[in-house]
């Protein structure tokens, strides 16, 4: 039986790997990869038994005071409950596999050790986030992950687009993080504690006591925390950064922008689900944001030509699905979809990565007929796509079904319809991708594709097995064990599985696949025709609903113009003022100088000359002859006699 305290080692090992790689990276060169992979595998071997213990129903939690804020101690610690254990389980496995894959993908890169340092740092951050037991630690690891995503997106910083993408990603997630920070601080001011378990207890009491504490304040806190999720999980308004994040190397995309980091946002909502349950009108907002994101992302993905962009948009739409699930207070459904999506989305990205690695081309219009050249990659890619589309035996079907069920059961008919349409679109663009890249004739003869080495294909197969297997705990075969496991967390409504929902989702998936096959294998011209007929929609989708232009015009441009205006304002007014004061002081000093020179000195000189003048008169008296003085004295006496004594 593994004691719980070793769980702290799980985030610590990747951090040590990061430190070593960073400091001795130059010296380690290709050996850096081994170090980080070893760290993550050891972390994995430590974490899985603990998770297994938690699966058995145990619950571990421990905390220590980190620092004293005046009298109130600030306690940091870890908690191992169903939510965190499942995430930990997923992250360690997927992380390790991706790092193994990255060893092959990044082979020969000059900054090899630095890549693995950043990845290890990201792993340690993700692991701390998953096991943290209070908002502050959660937020710290949240910020480190944002940093790692910036560093890794901008890994090829000599490419201008990579640097811009990194910067864009960092900024947009930053907007969300600010909201998240303010949110949990308001929460702290409201309920006085940052600890999740204490919060859950408070929320439970409030739930029973009926009247929640400060309804308004809590709802505000909840909304702001949800902003953090929007930023981090690339939801509707702040999703623009994820497609551009594809500039980074593919394992990064796989690890960060598919499986883990983006999932953190959903995990945040799940972690503070008790708060969201209490607050009356926040969940509908979540739902709306989720559905919009899902539909909008899928719609854009339809017309994309870059292999990684299509996957990015599909990630955004799946995240939309998770958020909608949480919005519909389907905690179990959301988290289940989170876990399953991590596996097959990572696989998709890695497969795409090996395709790019092989063909050195990212545009699907130049690819074709790669199936024969890259069988392993192709087959794993097809398996993942099937899972994503939601074909029954695969994990994707189960998790998506759960979501659709929660939507349908909770009476949100519209939401159900949109989700269903989205599912159809998902299936369509995934298989459009498959048919365009792997089947048909190679459109660009210069491309000489070759299969990736074993170190890359092995993790592909591992993940393929994972994406098949991982679906079962939530499926009826295991009696919805996962949903019950999640119910221990927060009491939320349970829905009976309905066959109708399952049938609708399967039907949507099959229609999508078949339509894609028809268009792209047989009737390539139909695509062209539909594009011309629905040209507006086509251009809308092609240009990512003009969000970038929209943002740049209504946010960036105004800010720039504001900046320019401010600069201008500053240059003219402030500097003007400063210079003005300078000139004013100069002028005033000149005036003072003049006054000083002509009036004060003038006065002084005047007295000088006056005395000199008077002196020149009086000094005549000083003749030097003693007798003159005597005479003067005598005459003085006379005058005195005559005048004063009035003798005469």
């Amino acid at each position: 039986m593994v004691t719980s305290d070793q769980i702290i080692l799980v985030p610590l090992l990747p951090f040590i790997a990061f430190a070593v790689n960073l400091l001795a990276g130059r010296w380690l060169k290709h050996r850096a990869a081994w170090l980080s992979v070893a760290a993550s595998t050891i972390a994995c071997f430590i974490a899985i038994p603990v998770c297994w213990a938690v699966f058995q129903g145990n619950h571990f939690a421990n905390q220590g005071t980190w620092l004293m804020l005046g009298q109130t101690p600030l306690k940091f610690g870890y908690v191992m409950d169903p939510l965190s254990s499942s995430l930990l389980f997923m992250v360690t496995i997927v992380g390790t596999l991706i790092q193994i894959y990255a060893m092959g993908y990044m082979h020969g890169d000059p900054r090899y050790s630095r890549f693995f340092a950043y990845v290890s740092l990201f792993m340690s951050a993700m692991l701390t986030l998953s096991i943290s037991d209070n908002y502050l630690l959660f937020f710290m690891s949240w910020e480190i992950m944002g940093l790692c995503s910036y560093l890794l997106i901008g890994f090829y910083f000599e490419k201008d687009s990579a640097a811009k993408a990194g910067f864009k990603a960092f900024l947009t997630t930053r907007v969300g993080d600010v909201g998240f920070l303010i949110g949990f601080l308001t929460l702290f001011s409201a309920i006085g504690t940052l600890n999740f378990s204490e919060m859950n207890a408070l929320m439970a009491n409030a739930h029973h006591a009926g009247a929640p504490l400060h309804a308004g304040l809590l709802s505000l806190a909840a909304l702001l925390i949800f902003c953090g999720t929007i930023g981090k999980s690339a939801q509707f308004p702040l999703h623009v950064w994820l497609p551009d994040a594809m500039e980074g190397p593919t394992p990064v995309s796989a690890l960060i922008h598919a499986a883990t980091m983006v999932a953190a946002g959903v995990f945040l909502v799940a972690r503070s689900f008790s708060l969201f349950m209490i607050v009356p009108n926040v969940l509908p907002v979540v739902t709306v944001i989720g559905t919009i994101t899902a539909f909008m992302a899928a719609f854009i993905a339809l017309t994309q030509t870059d292999i990684k962009r299509i996957l990015a948009y599909s990630t955004i739409s799946q995240l939309g699905y998770m958020v909608t699930a949480l919005g519909l207070s389907g905690l179990g459904a959301g988290t289940f979809h989170l876990i399953t999506h991590a596996f097959f989305k990572a696989l998709l990205f890695m497969a795409a990565g090996s395709v790019i690695h092989g063909t050195h081309v990212q545009d699907i219009r130049e690819m074709g007929g790669l199936f024969k050249k890259m069988p392993h990659t192709a087959t794993t890619f097809i398996i993942a796509s099937l899972a994503l589309a939601g074909i029954p035996p695969l994990s994707g079907f189960w998790s998506k079904d759960e979501i659709l069920l929660s939507a349908f059961a909770s009476g949100h008919k519209i939401v159900f319809m949109i989700l269903l349409l989205t599912a159809f679109m998902t299936a369509f663009y995934m298989f459009r991708l498959i048919f365009l890249t792997f089947f048909g004739q190679p459109r660009n003869l210069k491309v000489h594709a070759h299969e990736s080495p074993a170190v890359m294909t092995a993790p592909l197969w591992a993940l393929a097995f994972g994406s098949i297997v991982i679906g079962f705990p939530g499926s009826p075969f295991m009696h919805h064990w996962f949903q019950k496991f999640m119910a221990h967390m927060v009491h939320h409504p349970e829905y009976e599985p309905s066959a109708f929902v399952m049938a609708c989702s399967v039907a949507a998936a099959v229609c999508g696949i078949s339509l894609a096959g028809v268009i792209y294998l047989k009737k390539i011209r139909w695509a062209q025709k539909t594009a011309e007929t629905f040209s507006f929609l086509y251009r809308l989708s092609l240009n990512k609903c003009y969000f970038d232009e929209l943002y740049s015009r209504c946010i960036v441009k105004p800010f720039q113009s504001l900046g320019r205006f401010l600069f201008g304002f500053d240059a003219r007014i402030v500097d003007g003022a400063v210079n003005g004061t300078g000139h004013a002081t100069l002028f005033i000093s000149a005036v003072k100088g003049w006054i000083d020179k002509y009036i004060v000195d003038g006065l002084v000189n005047f007295t000088g000359t006056l005395t000199h003048f008077l002196n020149s008169i009086v000094k005549r008296l000083q003749t030097g002859f003693v007798q003159n003085y005597l005479l003067i004295v005598f005459i003085g006496i006379l005058v005195f006699l005559v005048w004063e004594l009035k003798i005469i």
Partner: protein, 169 residues
């Protein structure tokens, strides 16, 4: 008004006139030695006037001190400093007219004062005669302090004069 007092009166007026003439001579004579001698004459005349006023000790003292000592000093000084050749140089400086005018006014004013004020002349005082014995007693009596101070002043003047006049080696 017997003849004797008449003679004495005329004697006194005569000495006064003599004194005045000598005084004017002192002031106006070009030759300094002559003016010094006229001063001696004035001093002796005043001594005689003192004698007339029965202040004989003072008369003797005056002659002894002034004529004997001070005159000698003055004459010594004249001899030591007088440039014989320069006798012809003008003796009075430029301001004699102004001084003269001032003096006339001065004399007129005080003259009026003298004649106007009723002097409290008392018969008893007129009759009194002061003998040397009384003077001695007064010196040793109420005026002993000034007497001692005068001795100190004299010593100081003596030393001072010697120091100043001594040719420093």
């Amino acid at each position: 008004m017997d003849m004797l007092s008449l003679i004495i009166k005329f004697g006194i007026y005569g000495t006064m006139a003599l004194a005045l003439i000598a005084a004017i001579a002192v002031v106006t004579l070009r030759n300094l030695f002559h003016s010094a001698l006229c001063l001696a004459a004035v001093l002796i005349a005043t001594a005689m006037i003192y004698a007339a006023f029965h202040a004989d000790f003072l008369a003797a003292a005056q002659i002894l001190l002034y004529v004997g000592a001070v005159m000698t000093l003055i004459i010594f000084a004249i001899m030591l400093t007088e440039q014989l050749g320069s006798k012809t140089i003008r003796q009075t400086n430029r301001q004699n007219l102004a001084a003269l005018a001032g003096l006339l006014v001065f004399v007129v004013i005080l003259g009026r004062v003298i004649f106007k004020t009723p002097w409290p002349v008392t018969e008893k005082a007129l009759a009194s005669k002061v003998t040397v014995m009384e003077l001695g007693k007064a010196f040793m009596g109420p005026y002993v302090f000034p007497f001692e101070v005068i001795s100190i002043i004299l010593i100081a003047a003596l030393l001072g004069a010697v120091v100043i006049a001594k040719k420093d080696r």
